[in-house]
Symmetry: C2
Subunit: 484 residues, 2 copies
Amino acid sequence: MDRRTEILSARNLTMMTDLYQLTMMYGYFKKGMAKNEAVFDMFFRPLKTSSYAMMAGLENLVYYIQNLHFTQDDVAYLRSLNLFDEDFLENLKTLKFTGEIYSVPEGTVVFPGEPLIRVKAPIMQAQLIETALLTFVNHQTLIATKASKVRYAAGSDTVMEFGLRRAQGADAGIYGARSAIIGGCDSTSNVLTGQMFDIPVCGTHSHSWVMSFPDEVSAFRAYAEVFPHACLLLVDTFDTLRSGVPNAIKVFNELRAKGYEPLGIRLDSGDLAYLSKRARIMLDEAGFHNATICASSDLDETVIRDLKIQGACISSWGVGTQLITSGDNPALGGVYKLSAEIVDGVTHPRIKLSDSAFKVTTPGYKKIVRLYDRSGKATADLIMLADETVDETKPLTIFDPLQTYKRLTLTNFKARELLVPIFVDGELVYKLPDMHEICAYAKTEIESLWDEYKRSMNPHIYKVDLSDRLYALKQSMIDEYVKA
Amino acid sequence: MDRRTEILSARNLTMMTDLYQLTMMYGYFKKGMAKNEAVFDMFFRPLKTSSYAMMAGLENLVYYIQNLHFTQDDVAYLRSLNLFDEDFLENLKTLKFTGEIYSVPEGTVVFPGEPLIRVKAPIMQAQLIETALLTFVNHQTLIATKASKVRYAAGSDTVMEFGLRRAQGADAGIYGARSAIIGGCDSTSNVLTGQMFDIPVCGTHSHSWVMSFPDEVSAFRAYAEVFPHACLLLVDTFDTLRSGVPNAIKVFNELRAKGYEPLGIRLDSGDLAYLSKRARIMLDEAGFHNATICASSDLDETVIRDLKIQGACISSWGVGTQLITSGDNPALGGVYKLSAEIVDGVTHPRIKLSDSAFKVTTPGYKKIVRLYDRSGKATADLIMLADETVDETKPLTIFDPLQTYKRLTLTNFKARELLVPIFVDGELVYKLPDMHEICAYAKTEIESLWDEYKRSMNPHIYKVDLSDRLYALKQSMIDEYVKA
């Protein structure tokens, strides 16, 4: 078994669910509703920090679904809660996932309100998996999205993920680093993530290395001797410009005399714009024009953008806490809402009302079609009932479902369905792509977006519209409730 | 094997470290420094949201240390990086932890700048474990601290942890819930955490239950039939006051007619102050004075405090996203700094300077003593060299190490050492307490703090001072660097 499979399968997380999933399952079971099928959509509410999100977390979900089963111990624990009867507990012992899951692939750019994942399954199963599905996808999508913002700010510079020690637990570190790579980071300091997913790993030394030697130059010299091909020195342990950079240059000269070129230096504190400009001059004057200046120190996309505007001479960014926690917005508001029930073979669409028009759910068994213009840029997404089709040869008029006077007629467009089958009849029908495939796909996804959607402040809002039939269905259901 | 041990031991996380730990280990190995011992302190920088923190994460650390070893696959992967030679890789194959770890117990109230954990070990081992130690303790301490703020705001009300679906991955959900209980929550919705740690679990039903029935009253009636002893109904699926509460009262009357008393209702949206007051009147008028009103909906300590000030009739709080992510401060700035090296049996204290006086590290092999006044309240913590003692029979003068004119002489005080041995010579010497013991201890810890330290805004700053000897050592080392 490879390390990825080993770690992803090591724990049975079937019990990692909210208790109310089990009490509702019990209710459906006792009320003779266990044979009903339910359709749930996973989607997210608008983010305050981004107009789009980048999907991640599907791989975890696949392993979770394949592992889904209650052990004898689990059933014994549930019995001890004195909530459930023996018929139900017996039933749990044989429960596995037999339903259908469609999802957008990892790396897909997605927008608020559209289903990233659609589950159709016997209602007890569909309910059981809600919590873990949301945990995986909310977290990993959040971090991939944040990473894509950092990547956008950094342009073509190198971006390294450094956040493991500030991650919210081991999974946040492991899968957060993976998500950061999907979002556009080049490498991670996290060795386990590197091993599991064949991702480049990076790292040199910390302050403690320097403190373990009698003085800074001895520490630098020792490091250069051990890693002559990969000598990158952290220069801020005592005083960056008076001690760190001069000592680094001294050791770089010794290295060059032995026939090796240094990689460069890392700044980890102080004013990075000022220090990097001064250090660049010092390195250039010493003849080390190719020595890179890396920076770390509570960076995020906003700080990187500001430093670049101020001409900081930094071409490699180590991003830690703010990326691995999505510091300015540490949770994606992903939800999982019932959109239809299938009773005795008949599909009944379901809707949840709300005071806020945006929070009214969209009923039915649906799909998403993304519409591209002739240049290959995404123009709008259309949520449709699953049996509808788009005819690319005819003009298509779309409209905003809340402000319906906003209309647009598309000609010469391409349409692509975003949801792909992952599980059908409980069987995995999807070949999980490797990280190279996911990252290449994610890159084309970001490139298909106009820059206007990628601004941090007041980005343009992407169109997510409903088909005529779906709009009519939703309106008729709202009208029915309002009349009642 | 119990479920706790099974889950905590399921994965070997030895490779969950930053690459620079391995490059530094290689450097120490190649430079003949592998026999040196290093002393590291784990401490945290001041939090913007709290004057104190509550320690959690030790149990994870213990399992991690016990599991520490590189497998053949791990070594093969490290070989593939082309950074390390065979001598070193051979050495890794037999690496295990042989050092010493002292820590404050989980549930201890701790303050910025003081060592929560002290590691003394061969330098390669001490360096290797840095990242995982910080990951576990930073995350869990953060959540326990946040939970203690929520508990303080909620007074004697019930507080339920509901955040699993918004947690940053599975570990954040599992250990975040455990940390929330340490911090003072009464129960969690997370079934796995309940099972692993013998923690009360809670939960009833969601909107999807209501949507799965032809109408709200049928859904409520069905729920009451299945759980007549534990009937708590979510009343906001359609319209809280016009539909939800009246339907709940109808079903409560039916329940009472069968001889059962309802538990109450849950509000999950809208203005919770207004809705709870109106719902309270409706329930009281219908004769359900004992029916509880629970609330959830993006709560945290600030919202709870405001709702209570406005007289909201809520006595049970479901706290999700903001607690499980520590939404207003999603990372604890915990660091792990070299404070001494032991070379050929001689201890050399180490210091790291910084532009900011607070960031200058405190050298030496140290301990913490907490000083209590005659009422049992904590007055100050004193960081001392490990071989120093406090004489409770004599007056003790302490002073602020940055503003040394701030002095205080204590008489009639009690002193308690906070760091206790966890590992000695690589062996676990600590009996991990169960959750009941940890929670009882955490409660006494919080009670030993004056309320002035618990305010959210501008709390009083707790005194963390240095002993005379330690202060003199630190000053002399600073002077040496400044002279040099």
